[in-house]
Symmetry: C2
């Protein structure tokens, strides 16, 4: 039995408590100074100095396999379209040793530094790398001792139907442990929305895995594909197992159409992940919440051949979400932080994620007054506890 | 004579140099290790460890008088319209002791912490505070020993014509040293665009000061006011002395109209400041550059009764600008950093601002590879030198 006492921390900025962690789980929360006297048994004690405590962040949409993080600066090239970026990445990635175990580890370490203790990552599966990227990511996660929980989406970045053989790779990935299979712009990349979706749903239903689709298409073309997805989700009985990533069109629809669409998504049990780009249309997040459409936040890729942006800090994404949606009240600003933490849990299949007894001890300590203050300043992570392991101490990464 | 040797720093990420600073000015730049041997005379030496060096940042649009920075969290209230915010601020500011010397000083210190060594600040002038806010800001700047250069815009936040007596206050402020007088939505706040503009231009021409107008109006109503301003600027011979702040409409115009407008602004010598809000239309910044319309970046107010956002970091604003405008190449990412530094100089009337001999020694050191890396990570400011004074050392504020 290993144990850790996290003394004098303020969950969500509330009253100070002592948190007892045993074997990687939160075993007790007591008012500060009143924790059960287990000093003789406690192996380690951290003085939380009244720091604000949040549950570990959940990055619900990442690409940890494709970054050049840690390498010398790579200038952006290629064409700024989806197909242009796909082609550029396939042409250049070998030069930078992408994918690799070290590359994935570098990204996961940055996630931990910023307080992310669980992530759903899309990992490229194509005719070039086949399933090697997935193996690299799993090896990187293992090398970090499980500090960060990694859930895999086998992601056909280069297309599905237009690359014969990719469906077999997705099927194999699903058989070997990927939690979901991905998809990508069925209309504009594969030029066959029904064909791609039918093929993905067939695998998902047969293998009992989820589906997580990158959808960049705008307006009515985007919306039409949401309808196709919702119809197939209900038909296949995959409610609660299908996610749309990006889904820019949803924010662009006229109010009546948008409202119908949100209801259809809710009825089909579809969830939504966003990286809240500055130039995207705001999501109807209040209506989505009311309709039971879970929303998760992700960083997307960081420092890769798609974009030079990103540092792995999910709080920056939460702040971007808040600004994009014009959030200002304490309740709304707190909601944006919750999106980065509590509400992310379902995207990594956690039933118990939070500062509660029995949850995995994923805890982030920040020098902040309250959750809105955390959001608007995104201050340094003073301590990060991941599965009971101290991975950041006084702002310095320990892994 | 006081002197400081800043050894082994990389201007804009280039080759390492030693920077000699004498009496607050940069007196020499030599390849690292080859600086003139003046060790017996040098009072202070800082080992730059190869850190990247940038000129001090210039915050071209701030409100340092109206923040509650440093006070316990103030929940957002009021209505999210310009008039709603004006009314809310006037009703609540006394409760938080706004404006005050301490309040202004708290904001200026945050600016210094983040590398801003010069700012143009709008300071509320209205029938309630009269010129007290300006006096507070000047006293705060003096208390910081001139580390941060502060240029004042006497800003009629509560309106001009609709508040009889405000014009006299602006005239008095201009007489007493304000560099510019401000204006605010001549159409939608004063309900008399021609009347407000004529009155402001009369004062500016007579007192020899500039004009800096907050314009929030959208579309054609915004554009019409830009035309009125450009016409009056030329008529009054105030080319180079008039600035539009915000100016959201410019990005919203149809291409042909926008192009004509940019030309008209260029011919009238009008400059533009933006805080690059996530939900605004991108500016035609390349066309503005070609037409000779200077662009400056500002933080706007931080933590005030208008908005809980903001931490005074101009690099965050530069990154917001870059993302809003879809910048990705090294050249463009570097341009965004230049907007925060070099290109800001004209907004605080500096002819020589940069890492050059003779310039005021305003230098920011960051642990970064190059300017694009600075932009996308906005890392901690390791050292900030302001007018030759070390105001940040190892990330810690010294003033």
């Amino acid at each position: 039995m290993t144990s850790l006492l996290l003394a004098d921390v303020r969950p969500w900025g509330g009253d100070a408590v002592d948190v007892t962690i045993i074997d990687g789980l939160i075993s007790d929360l007591s008012p500060a100074g009143n924790s059960t006297d287990s000093s003789t048994e406690t192996e380690q004690r951290i003085d939380g100095r009244g720091l604000l405590a949040l549950p570990g962040f959940v990055n619900a949409h990442a690409h940890v396999d494709k970054s050049w993080w840690g390498q010398p600066w790579v200038s952006y090239g290629g064409q700024p379209t989806t197909q242009g970026r796909i082609a550029h990445e396939r042409a250049e990635r070998d030069k930078y040793g992408i994918p690799s175990v070290d590359g994935a580890k570098a990204v996961l370490r940055e996630f931990l530094r910023h307080g992310t203790t669980a992530t759903r990552t899309h990992v490229d599966v194509d005719l070039g790398v086949e399933l090697r990227g997935i193996a690299n990511v799993l090896e990187a996660a293992a090398a970090l001792g499980g500090a960060i929980d990694v859930e895999i989406v086998a992601f056909p970045q280069d297309g599905v139907l237009r690359r014969p053989g990719v469906l077999d790779l997705l099927d194999k990935a699903a058989a070997e442990g990927a939690t979901s299979i991905g998809g990508l712009d069925p209309a504009t990349i594969d030029r066959d929305p029904v064909g791609q979706l039918d093929a993905l749903f067939e695998i998902a239903a047969r293998r009992g895995v989820g589906i997580d689709l990158h959808l960049h298409d705008h307006g009515d073309l985007g919306a039409f594909q949401y309808e196709l997805i919702a119809e197939r989700t209900v038909q296949a009985g995959l409610q609660g197992k299908v996610n749309v990533s990006h889904g820019f069109a949803l924010g662009e629809l006229a109010p009546a159409r948008q409202s119908e669409m949100v209801d259809q998504l809710g009825e089909a049990g579809i969830s939504w992940t966003t990286v809240a780009p500055a130039t995207s249309a705001p999501l109807p997040f209040r209506e989505m919440r009311a309709a039971g459409v879970p929303i998760g936040l992700g960083t997307d890729g960081i420092r890769d051949l798609w974009s030079p942006y990103g540092d792995g800090d999910l709080l920056q994404i939460a702040r971007g979400f808040a600004r994009l949606h014009g959030l200002r009240t304490d309740e709304d600003l707190t909601y944006a932080v919750e999106l980065a933490t509590t509400y992310g849990a379902s995207f990594v299949h956690r039933e118990n994620h939070g500062l509660t007894v029995g949850a995995r001890a994923d805890i982030v300590l920040l020098d902040a007054e309250n959750a809105p203050d955390v959001l608007v300043r995104a201050p340094r992570r003073e301590y990060v506890i991941a599965g009971g392991q101290v991975v950041v101490r006084d702002g310095e990464l320990q892994v």
